[in-house]
């Protein structure tokens, strides 16, 4: 029998949701302050004040109306998480909509969801003339979303609570860097901020070296780092990374994309001086192997069609985009249409595989994740061994990820459920694309890019695309970021509300 949620459940959810909306509003004051004091852009500052005020007021009223009612249960936490991402999308979209650079509010919601989920698909019009204040918000979104919107709010501004760990799990994170979840979240932020300072400095130096004005190089460096390390793929100019026409710039972004796609736990171990962890870890080994194999596929496709004039150009373009796809960042040094017209189906298929597999668990990357891919490979090996070895032999499969772990059937089952969920998402968007008349491979490419939170586009994502397709991609980005479980919990909650007793 399904139990209908009680008033206490809804009040609890409303309370936490209100606090998170309040926090989203507070973060909007960051670009507002930058716009007022650094960029001197008065009108955009007004956009952010209006957006921030709306979010702060709504959050306050909601949390006041729904006072906390006991402990936050796991199911409630999942509903809070899934709703908080939708709320962040809606409130975060207000300042961008007021900029006048979007066709509709839906387009701004698409952009904000794309940012918070570190996807990077964009529907902005005339990006080259967008104010720096709005551009900063576009890039700050991934930086906040990459660490997890709800956990940020709960850990820093709401004050840690017993529900924090459940919310942390709800945002598709399950690894502790510290015994306490609040400390874990703070460590994740500490790692991110240290990288932000160092990464911005590096990108600024590279920017100056390639001939940009120092102030412009600083702004671009910070934006590119935030969107690169958080595997979002946004850039301040419409040409994305092609704008810079620079090999050093591309190499720097490759480094940050790879760093961003690594497990935060791994970063922490490296900080602690355990460099051997990188080579021993199943995830990093799988990532390395997968990057090599997919690079070979893509290069073979490019070589077969003779897309680039020499091996150097082919490697530069091919490897950059494989890394961009595999780390689920989405940075591009070609135009969207070139993927379809020049790269050919074989290379495109390689890119789809890279995007679908994704980066590491407990990072800002999306996709199926390397830990799952590695574990599935281990499970397959185990089954093959069982077939080959004598019947009574006991086969135990273990792997190393931060510590030595044993792979049991329950783990494999959980991993396969999430993997199937991702495949379902990729298929859903593909069907929607094909329904609207796009060729199968292009529809698959774009759908995988949205669901795996990549952001590479072969040209389907455009302000003029069908409204339903925009909605499907929004759902894919949202569900892909939360690894489906919280979304299922929300649907379950809605079903219980309608059909429960």
């Amino acid at each position: 029998m399904i139990l209908r949620p009680q008033a206490g459940d809804i009040r609890n959810i409303g309370y936490y949701l209100g606090r998170i909306i309040f926090c989203v509003g507070i973060t909007m004051f960051v670009p507002a302050a930058a716009g007022l004091f650094l960029f001197r852009e008065t009108v955009p500052v007004c956009d952010f004040l209006l957006g921030a005020d709306t979010a702060v007021l709504s959050g306050l009223l909601l949390s006041r109306l729904c006072r906390r009612h006991g402990e936050l249960r796991a199911a409630q936490a999942m509903v809070v998480v899934s709703l908080s991402w939708l709320a962040a999308m809606a409130f975060g979209a207000i300042p961008l909509y007021l900029s006048g650079h979007y066709n509709s509010f839906l387009d701004t919601c698409f952009e904000t969801m794309s940012g918070f989920t570190t996807t990077g698909l964009t529907l902005v019009l005339d990006l080259d003339h967008l104010s720096r204040t709005h551009n900063l918000w576009r890039h700050l979104g991934p930086f906040i979303g990459g660490q997890g919107i709800a956990i940020v709010a709960v850990s820093f501004l709401v004050g840690g609570s017993s529900g924090a760990w459940k919310i942390y799990l709800g945002e598709a994170r399950d690894e502790k860097l510290a015994p306490n979840v609040v400390n874990t979240a703070r460590l994740i932020w500490l790692i991110s901020i240290v990288y932000l300072v160092a990464g911005t400095a590096v990108m600024w130096l590279v920017g100056v070296y390639i001939g940009m004005a120092p102030d412009s190089a600083l702004f671009h460096g910070m934006c590119i780092f935030m969107a690169g390390f958080d595997t979002a793929g946004f850039a301040p100019q419409s040409q994305n990374i092609l704008y810079y026409h620079s090999l050093p710039f591309e190499i720097s972004t490759i480094v940050f994309m790879v760093l961003g796609s690594l497990n935060f736990n791994l970063h922490y171990r490296i900080w602690k001086g355990s460099f051997r962890e990188v080579w021993k870890n199943l995830e990093t080994r799988t990532l390395l192997l997968s990057v090599l194999l997919v690079s070979l596929l893509v290069m073979a496709g490019l070589k077969h069609l003779g897309v680039y004039p020499g091996a150097v150009a082919m490697f530069r373009k091919g490897f950059f985009h494989v890394i961009s796809a595999h780390t689920t960042t989405g940075y591009m040094t070609v135009y969207s249409g070139q993927f379809v017209r020049d790269w050919g189906d074989f290379a495109l298929a390689g890119m789809v595989i890279a995007m679908g597999l994704g980066g590491c668990a407990c990072s800002t990357a999306g996709g199926i994740k390397m830990l799952r891919v590695g574990a599935i490979c281990k499970a397959v090996t185990e089954d093959i061994k069982k077939l080959i070895l004598p019947e009574h032999s006991v086969v135990v499969q273990k792997f190393y990820h931060i510590k030595t772990m044993f792979l049991d059937d329950r783990q494999v089952r959980n991993i396969l459920i999430v993997t199937l969920g991702y495949l379902f998402l990729y298929g859903l968007g593909t069907l929607a694309g094909v329904w609207y008349g796009y060729p199968f491979l292009q529809a698959l490419f774009e759908s995988t890019s949205a669901a795996a939170n990549v952001g590479l586009s072969c040209g389907i994502t455009d302000p003029g695309m069908p409204v339903l397709l925009k909605l499907v991609y929004i759902v894919e980005m949202w569900a892909g970021r939360l690894e489906l479980m919280s979304v299922f919990a929300l649907f379950g909650f809605a079903a219980a509300f309608l059909k429960g007793r």
């Binding site: 852009e41 009108v43 007004c46 006041r64 080259d128 390639i210 419409s238 704008y243 026409h245 070139q338």
Partner: protein, 196 residues
């Protein structure tokens, strides 16, 4: 007008205009005027030639847009094109050369040219700034071997077609008071709730 009258008068007038009465055109004029049947054939051939000229050479030699360059790069690869667009973002000098990106409303294309050519660009498009509209002629590369396979134009001649400028945005009479009023309301609500 009957076909005979058309041949005699309309085509005849055209030939008198087209072929001069002296020099090398004199013979052609005489032949065509005395053979009305040839008039029509001559005009049709001339029309076909001009149609071919406008469809092919003219477009390649004239201004092309980024849409054509990106969507049909093979057609223009290695040829000299003239591209017109707004200079946006930054000029990035690299030794004796430099990059500027020109945006023509569809997409921006990178222009690689000598440093001297970039000196005339005064305004670069951005927020509140309308960049100079630049017309550049140079070789288009679908995948430039010199620049890691980038789609670019190696500009030979660059001229500022339309000067840009800083657009003065009047203070928003709706947003500014609304934002200030709303902020004041939020502050009052927060203070009220805290006091309560």
């Amino acid at each position: 007008m009957s076909l005979t009258r058309f041949k005699k008068y309309a085509c005849g007038d055209f030939i008198r205009q087209f072929c001069p009465g002296k020099g090398s055109g004199r013979f052609l004029r005489r032949v065509l005027l005395h053979n009305p049947g040839l008039n029509v054939i001559f005009i049709v051939v001339l029309f076909c030639l001009s149609a071919g000229f406008f469809q092919g050479d003219f477009c390649l030699a004239g201004t092309v847009g980024s849409r054509e360059l990106i969507n049909d790069p093979g057609r223009y690869d290695g040829t000299t094109v003239t591209f017109r667009g707004e200079a946006v973002g930054d000029i990035m000098y690299r030794g004796k050369y430099g990059w500027v990106n020109l945006y023509d409303g569809y997409a921006a294309v990178g222009i690689w040219t000598e440093k001297e050519n970039l000196k005339d660009i005064l305004y670069l498009g951005g927020y509140r700034v309308k960049g100079d509209i630049i017309e550049v002629s140079g070789m288009f590369n679908k995948s430039c071997p010199e620049h890691g396979g980038d789609l670019d134009i190696h500009g030979v001649s660059i001229k500022r077609a339309v000067p840009g400028g800083v657009s003065v945005i009047p203070s928003d009479t709706v947003k500014l008071p609304a934002a200030l009023l709303f902020t004041a309301v939020v502050v009052v609500v927060i203070l009220f709730l805290r006091a309560k």
